[in-house]
């Protein structure tokens, strides 16, 4: 099971499912990260965290810990 946390910089992945519940999951989905959405991993911050992705045409930065709940293919 690969999550967004492990995805490589420069790759494009598709969201398979989002684990977890509550406010964090809701926030992530509200920002456009839903099942079947494509994400482009743009870069990683200088100290390894957070990670910057392109989704639905805009850039979003996410902590790796939060990215862990997003399962991708």
């Amino acid at each position: 099971m690969v999550t967004l946390k492990e995805a490589k910089v420069g790759s494009t992945v598709r969201i398979d499912k989002i684990n977890g519940s509550g406010a964090v999951k809701r926030r992530i989905m509200d920002m456009g990260l839903t099942k079947g959405t494509d994400i482009f991993i743009r870069k990683v911050a200088p100290l390894g965290d957070p990670v910057e992705i392109t989704v639905r045409g805009y850039e979003l930065s996410l902590r790796k810990a939060d990215a862990e709940i997003i399962v991708v293919v």
Partner: protein
């Protein structure tokens, strides 16, 4: 008529609000929360108010901003919603739109950033968009001011006609089926236009809405079963179903209405980012940029102009001019002294630094408006996360470089209470505009204009914040879950010259105004205290400032500061004066040494200061005043944001204690290394330093727990 302005953060909502209301704005608080409420009157029309709702991404029940917006729209029933969306980011912006459209309030969609859209070559068919969404759509550019009149006309028309749009967004069959059930079972008593929104919320099992319907025990159980069935059928939980369907609806709409030119995604923003947020270069680049900013403002350009204002304007031109005037009209010497040695000396000392302030503010305004600072929050997040805050805490720090008060207020965007408290406590460590004259003064007088003094003040502030964060997060009071960090990164844009200049001027002008008000009053008080005292002849005018009331008060406190290297009364008084306004440090010293200058005939005021303080005690004095409690106005802001007397006292106490510790260490160890002095103070300082390092590196209670848990699992 009431117009509600709603939209995503970064959609240009604030700019639009300013355009619509001009200066007819009123800023307050939403009741019960520390979220800012902005209301204004529409320019050019009578009796029409515009409410600026907080920037939100959705109408979930999870954050205060969203809850406030929901409450307002449902309960206060504005006549029309003006939904502003960022045209260059349509997909995500429309997500909120689909939710707003369900509220049963007439809505007008304003697609902003028309200017940027045109440049990018992307194309939106606004008519089609309106048809697809079922509401009126207008294209605007809030920044350039285009389309505004048409938008206002449309909004007023829709508001007056009270024409509700048709619901174009239908969910999939099974969901609609369940929604119908819900409406039937629970919602027939509600106004017709709100039923759909409530039905969807109940379907999602939105906590706050569910609370409202608690009374309907039996019906609710039935509905929950229906929802569970629907979830099974669609293989997902209710909330996710709704969100996913919203986005699929939006994708369809976008396909019809938005034509992308498919230009290469590597825009200028990206090129800049590749260097500026590069893994290895980002932090050094940041350090270099901030050093350059402070160096140029204070030591080079700043000093050239300030030297002239200080040595020429306020020494050779203005004072003699005023003096000759006063003498010519036969003004009593005492009053002359009040004006010249008190007001002019004090206020003049402060005003002398205005050029440096302006230069610094230009730089800061530029960095802010071009978007660089948002990037910094992104980079700093990792560091901040080590001690449990997020990059979001960086924003108040940034604002604090201008003035600490809006910085403290900016902590409101931090949802986690503990993190917010910690941010409020540490924001004023960053040197604000008022501290700048003081920094410049010390840099010039004690350090001969060394280039590193001003930037070091800035980085000391950052270090203080980081260290405080680390230490505090490890205490029981502040330990806890790390706040989630999900932040949008807006593109870089070249800030308009007008905006930058205006921002600089606004801050600069308020600085000058402050000099003419609070500081002026303070100088009168200080003059009085320094000119009167208990001499051999009892109470009266005194020539020797060392016998004045000022000196008496100062000496009482001077003992406290002796271990820090500056235990003479002048500096205690300056420090205390700094509590009223940080500029007062300069004003007070200006008056005190001004008297001394008069006595010593022709020696430069600041030269005297330089003579009294060594490099070590000077730096200690500098750092103490930079880190200790902020001015009264800022303390008031802390009290307002903490909303709690105990926390406020703790915050200020912490700042003073921290400042004392750092200044003490600087003084003792500085003396050790530079002058070889070793005494009991040095020993204490070394012990204290060890203690400080321990607090920094010890394991936090959670880490200890984790380690124990890991050990147990391994066994």
């Amino acid at each position: 008529m009431k117009i509600a302005l709603a939209g995503n953060p970064n959609s240009g909502k604030t700019t639009l609000f300013n355009v619509l209301t001009g200066s007819n704005q009123f800023v307050g608080n939403w009741p019960g929360v520390t979220v800012e409420k902005k209301e204004g009157k529409l320019k050019g029309h009578k009796g029409i108010s515009v409410i600026d709702l907080p920037g939100i991404y959705s109408l979930s029940p999870y954050t205060p901003e969203e809850v406030i917006t929901r409450k307002f729209l449902l309960e206060e029933q504005p006549d029309v919603i003006l939904n502003i969306v960022d045209g260059t980011n349509l997909e995500r912006n429309l997500y909120l739109t689909t939710q707003l459209l369900e509220l049963g309030i007439p809505l007008v969609l304003a697609v902003n950033m028309g200017d940027v859209l045109a440049k990018s070559g992307d194309n939106i068919d606004y008519a089609k968009l309106g048809k697809a969404l079922g509401c009126q759509v207008v294209a605007i550019s809030a920044l350039k001011g285009t389309g505004i009149k048409e938008m206002v006309d449309e909004v007023l028309a829709v508001g007056r006609e009270n024409k509700l749009h048709s619901i174009m967004h239908k969910y999939s069959g099974s969901v609609e089926h369940t929604l119908a059930h819900i409406e039937e079972a629970l919602l027939h008593d509600l106004p017709l236009n709100q039923q759909r929104w409530y039905a969807i919320k109940i379907f999602e099992q939105d906590e706050l809405v569910m609370q409202k319907f608690q009374a309907f025990g039996a019906e609710l159980e039935h509905i929950k079963k229906d929802i569970a069935e629907c979830e099974k059928e669609m293989d997902d939980d209710a909330e996710s179903i709704i969100i996913a369907e919203r986005y699929s609806f939006i994708e369809k709409v976008i396909k019809d209405c938005l034509r992308r030119t498919g230009k290469s995604k590597m825009s200028t923003s990206d090129k800049i980012d590749r260097i500026v947020t590069n893994r290895f270069l980002a932090l050094p680049i940041f350090a270099v940029i901030m050093t350059a900013v402070y160096y140029i403002s204070v030591t080079t350009v700043g000093t050239w102009v300030t030297d002239w204002t200080n040595d020429v304007l306020f020494e050779e031109i203005i004072p003699p001019a005023i003096e000759s005037f006063l003498v010519a009209v036969g003004c009593a010497p005492l009053l002359q002294s009040l004006i010249l040695d008190g007001i002019v000396a004090g206020v003049g000392a402060v005003l002398g630094f205005v050029p440096q302030i302006l230069v610094l503010f230009i730089f800061l305004a530029f960095l802010e408006s071009c978007g660089y600072m948002a990037r910094i929050a992104f980079i700093m997040d990792r560091i901040f996360r080590r001690f449990g805050l997020s990059g979001k805490s960086f924003i108040p720090m940034l604002i604090g470089t201008g003035c600490g008060i809006p910085g403290i207020m900016a902590s409101r965007t931090i949802e986690n209470t503990r993190d917010r408290r910690m941010t409020i406590m540490t924001t004023t460590f960053i040197p604000c505009g008022a501290k700048l004259p003081f920094i410049a003064l010390m840099a010039g007088a004690v350090f001969g204009g060394a280039w590193w003094v001003a930037p070091s003040a800035y980085f000391m502030g950052i270090a203080a914040i980081i260290c405080s964060g680390i230490i505090l997060k490890k205490t029981k009071m502040f330990a806890g879950e790390v706040a989630p960090f999900v932040m949008e990164l807006p593109a870089y844009h070249w800030p308009t010259v007008g905006n930058v200049l205006r921002s600089m001027w606004e801050r600069g002008w308020s600085f000058i105004k402050k000099a003419g008000t609070i500081i002026l009053l303070s100088t009168i008080v200080i003059w009085f205290l320094s000119g009167f005292g208990f001499t051999d002849q009892g109470f009266g005018v005194t020539d020797d400032i060392n016998q004045s009331l000022l000196a008496a008060v100062g000496s009482a406190f001077a003992v406290i500061f002796a271990p820090l290297g500056w235990g003479s009364w002048e500096y205690s008084v300056a420090t205390i004066g700094g509590l009223v306004a940080k500029e007062n440090i300069v004003a007070t010293l200006g008056i005190i040494f001004g008297f001394a200058e008069v006595a010593e005939d022709g020696v430069e005021i600041w030269g005297l200061l330089g003579a009294q303080l060594t490099v070590v005690s000077g730096y200690s004095f500098l750092i103490f005043n930079l880190l200790c409690a902020p001015c009264f106005a800022a303390m008031g802001a802390i009290r307002r944001e903490m909303n709690n007397g105990k926390w406020t006292a703790f915050a200020i106490g912490y700042q003073c204690a921290f400042a004392y510790f750092v200044a003490f260490t600087i003084n003792q160890l500085g003396n050790l290394f530079l002058f070889g002095t070793f005494g009991i103070g040095t020993v204490i300082a070394l012990i204290a330093l060890v203690g400080f390092v321990y607090l920094l590196v010890r394991k936090s209670p959670e880490e200890k727990l984790e380690k124990t848990a890991a050990k147990l699992i391994a066994e």
